[in-house]
Each structure stands twice: as structure tokens, then as C-alpha cells.
């Protein structure tokens, strides 16, 4: 009736029957597609107790872990007790976590319940921005009682002001090197034993072909952690010198997994990796690859799980968290394809846990090697500054840095310059407190001291304009000093 009217009107306006027909065809195609898609997967109605609950989990874990976790959890008594019939995984890039959590909160039935995996940096950000809810369920508290609050200074749990946990580590990791024995042998390079070894001029012998690898702090939370360890281990100035020279020796990748790939491929002799990358490389090719924990300091890092404030199923969501932290749930890490270290050591007492005596040995070995008292508070007080400074003074001008360092290291190795001159030039290349730049707020000339890094830490995150201006300054200053060093060496 109504359509007939529209057609008549259009006809009167001089639009032909054919035109109307074609327009209808286009619209029908679009809506047929809409119906097909929509019909296949109707928007799920808000879940009720009677229908069973679907939990939505935002995560950085891989599909292999998630597939197993979903199957095992849905079969568990806990899932049945809380009428949980499905778990939906949202594998979202860290750059969009907050956007997605926020947007989902306005979609009835699509609210996200749990966040799982992605490292403490991301979870601390969520906590600071008020997205995490304290966990109050007895089941969570019970399951996490075997997980210590801190391991060698590194947080395994974060508490709110009332002492309730807002995130708990579900897995732990250490950091070290994955080495390619064949490469090191062929290139005549020593096996590195400490972080500081990677900064040694010996590894510059093969430049312009780098023999070691690391990853940019901006894209790799695990490497950011390693850099924080080095800074605490050696202090601000010496620490940055080591970071800069490791960067100068290295190929710097933009994903931590690529470092491991390059070691396996034999492109580099040693790469900084998280432990399970190293262990899997070792399992994949035991004759060639090995994972080593550096003697001058390694910590364990907790990989958190947390309850989100947006969850409409707080109890059910906590049941899932409790399951992940329980010895039952912790078995997912023991899968020979995964090889991650559980946060809850009780899992090694289960029958499945007893079969992975190798992982248990690695777990105990890692704990025994913890040699430094790590301060999480100190690390996070300058974390964003570290990330940006590393990115803009080491990663982006990397070609210039490497060229200068190659000239310097080779001059030293060939005995062309004195030890003193060598140290002098290293100081020029790598001392952060001698890098001069203009503070965009005041116009004053500043250097990158620890206290300055702390003072701009939150500003770098919250004020994008400030960040852009100061990082431009850093980049310019860094390029300038690399070019100057090269000029001195050339003459």
C-alpha cells in the first residue's frame, strides 16, 4: 500500500520503472545480506540464569591456550554450579582494550566480564583508569592463597585501598636470552651470560650484520620489563648505557616473537626473550637453540587475570577466575605446545603436573636465580618515559646509532683508540643525562635524568601533544649526537 504510493510518486517525478526496479535490487541485496548474517547469528539476548550465562573475556592469550581453557572450564563443576554455558574470547590489540571495554559496556548482553593476559603494564593501566573491580568471592581468595603477593619484589597481586585483590597473576615468566649455538660458533662469538655482555663491543664484530636481537619497548611489554630490570640492576646512567649499546649491537624487532623467530632461523646468535619463547625454541630445535637466564639479574613477572567493573555476572566471572587460578585450571600452561610457568605451584602436585618434571625444574631454577630485589613501584614511576625514550632515541634512529657504534667498536677492537677515548665516546653516545633537549612546556634545556623521567611520566600518557613535541626533540638530539660521534671517529 505504502510502497505503491512511493512508486507512483517516483513515477510522476519521471523516474522510470526500470530505475525503481534497479534501486530495489540494490537495496534487496544489502538487506538480504543483512538478514543472512543477522539471521545466522541473532544478537544474543541478555543471558539469564535459566538460559545459562555466557562470559566474555578480553584477552591477549593465543587460540591454542583459549581453546583448551574453554573446553576444560565448561566441563568443570564450577561452570555448572554457576550455569556458565559459554565463554567468548575477545582477542583485542592492547591499543584498543579501553575503547572496546568502554563501548561494550553500553551494549546489553555484550559487557565484558574478565580481562586475562597482557602483562602488568596493561593491567595497571586498567586499574588506574578504574576499569577493574575488586575480587571478593571466597572462591577466588581460596584459589589464590597459594600464589604469593610478591616474588622478589615483582607484584603477583595488586590490591585496592581496602586490601582486596584487583588483579592476580595467573602465570609467571622470567626473562633471558635464547641463543643459537651454531651461529655464535660460526661467527666466533662468546655465549652471553649476563645482560651487560650483550652491550659488549665483541658483538659488534659482525656489524653491519647484527648478531644479537631485541625488541622495541613500545611494542613489547616483555622487553620493557627486561629494560626495567637492567635499569634497576645497574642504575639509571649505566643502565641506559647498556640499553643503548645492546640496541646498537642488535637488530631491534617490533614484536618479541620475532626475536625468537630470528634466533631459530639463525639470523642472530642471541636474542632477549621471555622464558616460554626460549623453552619452545629449545624444544623445537634442541641441537641449536637454548634458553639462558642471565646471571646479573632476572625477575619473575606475573601475567594477570582480573574482574572488570562492567561485568553483569560478577559471581560467575569470579568463578572463572577462581578456576584459572586453581590447580585444575593451571594445567593449561603445562601443554607441551605452551610451556608456560604456572602462578600456582600446586599444579605440579596433580598427575598431569607430575608428568612435566622438566617444567617444574625450570620453575625452581628460575626462582633460585632471582638475584635482585626488584621494585615495581620504581619501574612504573618512569615506565612511559622509558618506552618513549627508548623508541625515539634508540629504535627510530637505529641506523645512525648502529653506524656510529660500528665505527667506535671496530676502532677499539683494532686498537686504534685508547680505552679512555672509547669510554668517553660511549658516554657521548649513550649517557641519558648528557642528552640535551628543550622541554616543550617551559622552553628550558633539560636532560633525561631519572627524576625528570618520573616527572613527565604521566604527562606523556595523558597529553598526546606534549608527547609528540618532546619525542621530536629527543629524536633530533639523539640523531645529532650519533652523527657527531661518527664525525669524530671519521677524522
Amino acid at each position: 500500500m505504502c510502497e505503491g504510493l512511493v512508486v507512483k510518486l517516483l513515477r510522476r517525478k519521471g523516474v522510470s520503472r526500470g530505475a525503481i526496479f534497479a534501486a530495489v535490487v540494490v537495496i534487496v541485496i544489502i538487506f538480504a545480506a543483512a538478514l543472512l548474517m543477522g539471521g545466522r547469528r541473532r544478537p544474543s539476548k541478555p543471558t539469564t540464569q535459566a538460559q545459562g550465562i555466557t562470559l566474555r573475556v578480553i584477552t591477549r592469550h593465543g587460540y591454542d591456550i583459549l581453546d583448551v581453557a574453554k573446553k576444560e572450564f565448561l566441563a568443570s563443576d564450577l561452570a555448572k554450579e554457576y550455569h556458565i554455558v559459554n565463554v567468548e574470547w575477545l582477542s583485542v590489540d592492547p591499543g584498543e582494550w579501553i575503547d572496546i571495554i568502554k563501548a561494550s559496556a553500553n551494549k546489553p548482553g555484550k559487557e565484558i566480564d574478565v580481562a586475562w593476559g597482557g602483562g602488568p603494564t596493561l593491567f595497571n593501566l586498567l586499574a588506574d583508569k578504574g576499569y577493574l573491580a575488586p575480587m571478593t568471592s571466597q572462591k577466588v581468595l581460596l584459589a589464590s592463597k597459594d600464589i604469593p603477593d610478591k616474588l622478589a619484589g615483582a607484584m603477583m597481586k595488586r590490591f585496592d585501598s581496602q586490601g582486596r585483590p584487583v588483579w592476580v597473576a595467573a602465570a609467571i615468566s622470567s626473562f633471558g636470552f635464547t641463543i643459537n649455538k651454531k651461529y655464535l660458533q660460526k661467527a666466533g662469538l662468546p655465549v652471553p651470560g649476563r645482560w651487560i655482555d650483550l652491550a659488549n663491543e665483541t658483538y659488534a664484530k659482525t656489524l653491519p650484520i647484527p648478531s644479537i636481537g631485541t625488541a622495541d619497548a613500545m611494542y613489547s611489554t616483555s622487553n620493557t620489563r627486561m629494560f626495567e630490570i637492567i635499569l634497576q640492576d645497574y642504575g639509571w646512567e649505566k643502565g641506559w648505557e647498556i640499553l643503548t649499546l645492546i640496541g646498537a649491537n642488535a637488530r631491534i624487532y617490533d614484536k618479541s616473537g620475532l626475536v625468537r623467530d630470528a634466533v631459530i632461523r639463525g639470523d642472530i646468535g642471541a636474542g632477549t626473550t621471555i622464558d616460554f619463547y626460549g623453552y619452545t625454541a629449545q624444544l623445537e630445535n634442541p641441537q641449536v637453540c637454548r634458553y639462558l637466564v642471565p646471571k646479573d639479574g632476572s625477575i619473575v613477572n606475573g601475567d594477570p587475570i582480573a574482574l572488570l567493573k562492567t561485568s553483569k555476572h560478577q559471581e560467575a566471572a569470579q568463578a572463572f577466575i577462581a578456576w584459572v587460578l586453581s590447580p585444575e585450571g593451571q594445567k593449561i600452561w603445562l601443554n607441551p605446545k605452551v610451556n608456560r610457568m604456572p602462578a600456582n605451584p600446586k599444579v605440579f602436585e596433580t598427575p598431569e603436573g607430575k608428568k612435566r618434571s622438566d617444567l617444574k625444574a625450570a620453575y625452581e631454577h628460575t626462582l633460585s636465580l632471582i638475584s635482585i630485589e626488584f621494585s615495581d613501584a620504581l619501574a612504573s614511576s618512569y615506565e612511559f618515559s622509558l618506552i618513549q625514550f627508548y623508541h625515539w632515541t634508540i629504535y627510530v634512529p637505529h641506523d645512525k646509532l648502529q653506524q656510529a657504534w660500528e665505527a667506535l667498536a671496530k676502532a677499539k677492537l683494532e686498537g686504534k683508540i685508547s680505552e679512555q677515548k672509547f669510554e668517553e665516546l660511549i658516554d657521548m653516545l649513550a649517557n641519558p643525562t648528557k642528552l640535551q633537549f628543550k622541554d616543550p612546556r617551559t622552553g628550558e634545556i633539560k636532560t633525561f635524568t631519572q627524576s625528570y623521567a618520573q616527572s613527565i611520566n604521566s604527562l606523556l600518557f595523558n597529553n598526546v601533544d606534549f608527547r609528540k613535541k618532546i619525542t621530536d626533540e629527543w629524536y633530533k638530539a639523539a640523531v645529532k649526537r650519533y652523527e657527531e660521534a661518527l664525525k669524530i671517529l671519521g677524522s
Binding site: D64, W97, K205, Y219, Y253, G257
Partner: protein
């Protein structure tokens, strides 16, 4: 003003109105409106219209490097041997001019390779031609995520290239290490020249043989006929391909990401496309973390794409290419080759196919052998393990079905919209049609990640709860992102076909009493069928390859994810054993499906369309 409306009224018959409204509806609703956010962010600073972010970019020392660094290559003796380093310390002109340099060079190389290959395929008869018809398309097939590993295995210092040419054949007295811009140019050229090839091929085939015969009757021979008759007549197709290659090279992330994966940081990252991408990836938690100058840069990239496209178009439309009759299967100008010519053709085609398909061949080898983890330049053992892992995985089938559904629906839409738009642009004199022409051409220059974010913000806010809500139906929206991102392949190819076809053929039909609809359907479409199908196929293949919006939107509802999303899930999964090989196995599956679709459509359509380019 009145002449404007008069002209508009005269031009807007029912066919044109329909075609125009169909194309404008899709383009405005699914391209322009979602991108509004980007433009606002680029042009407004502190709530006021301002060029602040453009100035911020130009003051970025990374952006324009003066004086440029022109150090292309150097030799160096290291403890690992003597190496020729290409590209690792230059050239470097800064982000802006690096992108232009790469895009121009890639376009020139693609024209050289694509036109040569197309001419051989269109004009010569030789054994194995059908084989080359298929394998020349292989370089277009998708190898996302895995290509970094393959590039490392092949071009790395201990890679296959150095192993074969230095260690085994001893043809090179030194090893070669290529990175930086030259490496980007290499990777992009081998993956994009088939776009020129396909467009040039349909043009060569449509050339009326009598044109060349007349030239020969008048005494022209060999290269002169090619240069003065064949090439100019095929120019619309070649230009269409070249414009697309230029724009796609500007936006491409595959090469810089692949090279960063293989060689780490370097000058191959100093490109506009990568700069934008890394700003989005580097932020934590929220797109609020992305500096607005990034959007300004995207606007600059779009402006370059539009400018270059319009100048190519202007140059091409200065002349007439239309022919009254068309070449085809009735009287093809196909010759046999002499022995020397035959050798030259085989050497050229084999060399081209092997070089250009190395990423695809590498993916197949990774998926079926121990190449990924044996630490050697060559594979030593076959293993069916990774391919068979796919069979046990129900998600694989689902993601493939999703990919096929989205891509084929998007292709239908692209054909409707692309043919409509191209027809209006080629045949009607509507004011502002240059804008419409740019609109169906530049979407490839919109960074996928910005479009994805635009979709998230726009459709989640204004279409909440409808089938357009990305939280409910990301798959449905993917049909439209594919449509707008891949429509240029269809539109440009169809437009080139129309340019080559004389309008008088349609006028004859109109004179004989057929209305515009009938003329369009029974005269125009059959005459340009080769271009429609060629463009549609390109659009389909590139839809199956789409990564940026697929990953971002599908993460909201993984079961609606296409195969590229699933591959990203596999490759980023916690570093499990054999990840690269499993992702490669998925890549093999994806490539096989693309090949099957191309071969089947070739077979089905061959009966109706002469010498289809596929």
C-alpha cells in the same frame, strides 16, 4: 546556475539516476561518513579549524630529510664474510618523500614487467601458455603474517638467495643483504605487477586487429606498430593498472611489516603507511593515544593519491582510444615464435614467475617441511604434520566459509557499484564527476586501520542494536569494508574498457529504439565483459587478502572472523611450537581457494568471453 541544473536534468535519465544513487549511497554511507572522524581530528585543534597538525608533521625531523641520504649500496667485509649491503643506510628522503619515491619506482617497474608479460600472453602462441596464465597470478595471492619469516629465510644473510648464488653456484663473489627502501620496492613490485598485467592484458585483447593491420599495410613493422598503434590503444588499461599500483604501493603495509619482521628496524619503516600503522599499534589502551597528526598524515596520503590519479587520468583522457570494433576470439592476432623468440619468452616468463612467487612458494614449503626450524637455508624433510593439523580444527572451515561469503557478497556489490559509477563517469557529463571518479579510486589509499576505527566509532554509536552494529555483526560490516576498500579494482578496469569502446555502438542501439537500460545491458556490458570480469576477480582476490579491518572488527566476535583473522590468531598465539608453520598451512589453504575460484570462473566464463585474462 540555471545552465548547471539544465545540464544535470538532461543527463539524469532513469539509468543514470539509479546508477548514481546506488554508487553514492554505498560510498557515502560506508566510506565518507565513517571517515569523518579522521578528517575532524586532522583539521581541528582545540575545537578550532586549524592547520596545527599539518605543521606539527612538517616540523617532524623524521618527515622530510634534507639533504637526502643517497647512499644506495656499499660493500663491507665482516667476520661473517664479504657483503654487498643494499638499502640499509640509504636512500632516505624522510617519510614523505620515501613513500613517493617507492610508489613511483614500483609503478614504473610494474608497468615494465606487467606490460611485457601481458603483450607476450596476448600476442604469442607457445607451449605452456595456459600454465603461465595461471602462475602469473600467483604473486597476487595472500601471504599475510607469514611473509616476514619467508623473507628472512630467502633474503637473510644465510638465506636461500645467498646460499644458491654465493655458496652453491658461486655466481656472486660476495653475499647480498638487501633491506630499506630497495627491499620495499622489490617486494611491492613482485606482488603488484600482476595488477598492471591483468589490466594491460584485457586492453591488448580488446584492440581491434584491423588497427594494427592498417599500420602494417602502411608499411610499419615490429616495434613501430607496437609503439605507435598497439601501446597507445592499450593505454587506458595500462594507466588504470598503473594508477592502482601507485596508490596501493602508497598504502601497502605488507612489505614494510614483512621486512621489519625479517630484519628488524630499518629504513624500510620510514614510510607514510608504516608511520600511521605504528602510531596506532604503539598506543596503549585507546585510540585517544593516537596523535592527531597521524590523521593529518592520512589526509596527506589521500591528497597525494588523488593528485596523482587525476593527473594520470588527465594525461590519458587527452586522447581518443575508442574503437568501433573490438578484438576477440574471432580474429585474434596471435603469432607463433621463432626459436630465439621462444627462448627469450620462456626465460623472461620463468624468471619473472619464480622471482615474483617466492613468497608464495616459501609459504608452501614452510607449511610442508622442517624449513621453519631446521636452521638451514633449505628444507631437509617433508612433514604433513602442519597441514593435517588444519583438518582437526573446526574453526578453520568456519573462517574459510566466512571469507568466501564476505568476499563474494562484496564482489557482487562492487560489480553493481563499480560498473554503475564507471558507466556514469565514462558516458555522462554530470558536473563533478571527477569527484565521483576519485571516490571510487582512492579508497585503497585510506589506511585500513583508520577505516576500521571509523567503523567502530560510527556504527557502534549510531547503529547500536541493528545488524550494522559491529559488536553484533562485525562480519556483515566486513562486506562493506571489503566493498569500499577493493572497489577501485573493479571500477578502474571497467572504466578502461568503456574508454576503449566507442560510444557510437551504444548510440546505434539507441537510434534503433532501445532504451538506455536495454542499451546498457545488451550492448555496453557484453562489450566490456572482459574488463568487468577481470576487475571483479582482482577485487575478489584482494578481498580474501584483506587484513586491517578484518582483524580489528572480527576481534569483537571471533566466530565471524575471516581466514586472515584466524591466521593472525594463530601466529600471535603465545609462541607455541610450530606456529609459523601452522599459519603457513593456513596460507596454503587460502591461496588454494583463491586459485580454485580463479580457475573455475575462468573455465565457466571462457565459453562466453574471448581470451579472458585469467
Amino acid at each position: 546556475m540555471s545552465s548547471f541544473t539544465k545540464r544535470l536534468k538532461r543527463e539524469l535519465d532513469s539509468l543514470t539516476t539509479t546508477q548514481l544513487s546506488a554508487s553514492l549511497f554505498i560510498l557515502i554511507f560506508f566510506l565518507i561518513v565513517p571517515l569523518f572522524y579522521m578528517v575532524i581530528r586532522a583539521f581541528f585543534h582545540n575545537g578550532r579549524l586549524s592547520s596545527y597538525y599539518f605543521q606539527a608533521l612538517l616540523s617532524d625531523p623524521n618527515f622530510v630529510t634534507y639533504p637526502p641520504n643517497l647512499n644506495f649500496a656499499y660493500m663491507s667485509r665482516t667476520s661473517l664474510g664479504t657483503f654487498l649491503f643494499v638499502g640499509n643506510r640509504g636512500p632516505d628522503f624522510g617519510v614523505l618523500f620515501n613513500s613517493l619515491f617507492v610508489a613511483i619506482t614500483v609503478t614504473v617497474f610494474s608497468i615494465l614487467l606487467g606490460v611485457t608479460a601481458a603483450f607476450i600472453m596476448a600476442r604469442y602462441e607457445f607451449l605452456g601458455k595456459i600454465f603461465f596464465r595461471v602462475v602469473l597470478l600467483i604473486p597476487m595471492l595472500a601471504t599475510p603474517f607469514v611473509n616476514a619469516f619467508v623473507i628472512g629465510k630467502v633474503l637473510g644473510q644465510n638465506g636461500l638467495f645467498n646460499y644458491v648464488f654465493h655458496d652453491i653456484l658461486r655466481l656472486l663473489p660476495f653475499k647480498v643483504q638487501i633491506s630499506g627502501l630497495p627491499a620495499v620496492i622489490l617486494i611491492q613490485t613482485i606482488s603488484f605487477f600482476p595488477i598492471v598485467y591483468l589490466n594491460a592484458l584485457s586492453s591488448f585483447i580488446s584492440i581491434d586487429p584491423s588497427m594494427e593491420e592498417q599500420a602494417e599495410t602502411l608499411g610499419a613493422r615490429g616495434f613501430k606498430v607496437f609503439r605507435s598503434v598497439t601501446l597507445p590503444l592499450a593505454l587506458p588499461g595500462i594507466a588504470a593498472g598503473a594508477a592502482i599500483v601507485f596508490i596501493i604501493s602508497l598504502e601497502d603495509l605488507g612489505a614494510p611489516i614483512g621486512l621489519s619482521g625479517a630484519f628488524g628496524s630499518g629504513l624500510h619503516q620510514k614510510l607514510i603507511s608504516f608511520y600511521i600503522y605504528s602510531e596506532f599499534i604503539g598506543g596503549l589502551g585507546s585510540v585517544e593515544q593516537v596523535h592527531a597528526s597521524t590523521y593529518a598524515l592520512a589526509v596527506i596520503m589521500l591528497a597525494i593519491a588523488v593528485a596523482v590519479f587525476l593527473s594520470i587520468k588527465k594525461y590519458v583522457t587527452l586522447r581518443q582510444y575508442a574503437m568501433i570494433s573490438k578484438g576477440g576470439r574471432f580474429n585474434p592476432r596471435i603469432r607463433k615464435l621463432g626459436p630465439l623468440g621462444l627462448i627469450a619468452v620462456y626465460l623472461f616468463l620463468l624468471g619473472l614467475v619464480i622471482t615474483a612467487s617466492f613468497p608464495q612458494i616459501g609459504v608452501v614449503v614452510l607449511a610442508m617441511s622442517d624449513w621453519a626450524y631446521n636452521g638451514l637455508p633449505v628444507p631437509t624433510a617433508f612433514t604433513p604434520q602442519f597441514m593435517s593439523e588444519l583438518v582437526s580444527e573446526p574453526d578453520v572451515l568456519r573462517s574459510i566459509m566466512n571469507s568466501l561469503t564476505y568476499s563474494s557478497m562484496a564482489t557482487i556489490l562492487m560489480l553493481v557499484v563499480g560498473v554503475s559509477a564507471a558507466y556514469v563517469i565514462a558516458r555522462r557529463k554530470i558536473p563533478g564527476k571527477d569527484a565521483l571518479d576519485s571516490l571510487v579510486t582512492v579508497p585503497i589509499a585510506v589506511p585500513g586501520i583508520i577505516l576500521a576505527v571509523g567503523y567502530l566509532l560510527f556504527f557502534a554509536t549510531f547503529f547500536s542494536g541493528t545488524p550494522f552494529d559491529p559488536f553484533l555483526n562485525p562480519g556483515f560490516l566486513l562486506i562493506f569494508t571489503y566493498t569500499v576498500r577493493r572497489i577501485p579494482f573493479t571500477a578502474r578496469s571497467v572504466f578502461a574498457g568503456l574508454q576503449q569502446t566507442h560510444e557510437s555502438l551504444e548510440e546505434a542501439a539507441l537510434n534503433l529504439g532501445a532504451n538506455r537500460w536495454r542499451t546498457f545491458a545488451t550492448i555496453a556490458i557484453p562489450l566490456i565483459a572482459a574488463n568487468v570480469i577481470g576487475g571483479g576477480l582482482l577485487s575478489f582476490v584482494y578481498s580474501m587478502n584483506e587484513v586491517s579491518t578484518s582483524i580489528t572488527l572480527s576481534s569483537l566476535k571471533p566466530e565471524q572472523g575471516p581466514i586472515t583473522f584466524y591466521m593472525s590468531q594463530v601466529i600471535y598465539s603465545s609462541g607455541a611450537v610450530g606456529t609459523v608453520s601452522v599459519a603457513a598451512a593456513l596460507g596454503v589453504l587460502l591461496m588454494s581457494i583463491q586459485l580454485v575460484v580463479m580457475t573455475v570462473s575462468n573455465y565457466l566464463l571462457k565459453q562466453r568471453v574471448a581470451f579472458l585474462g585469467v
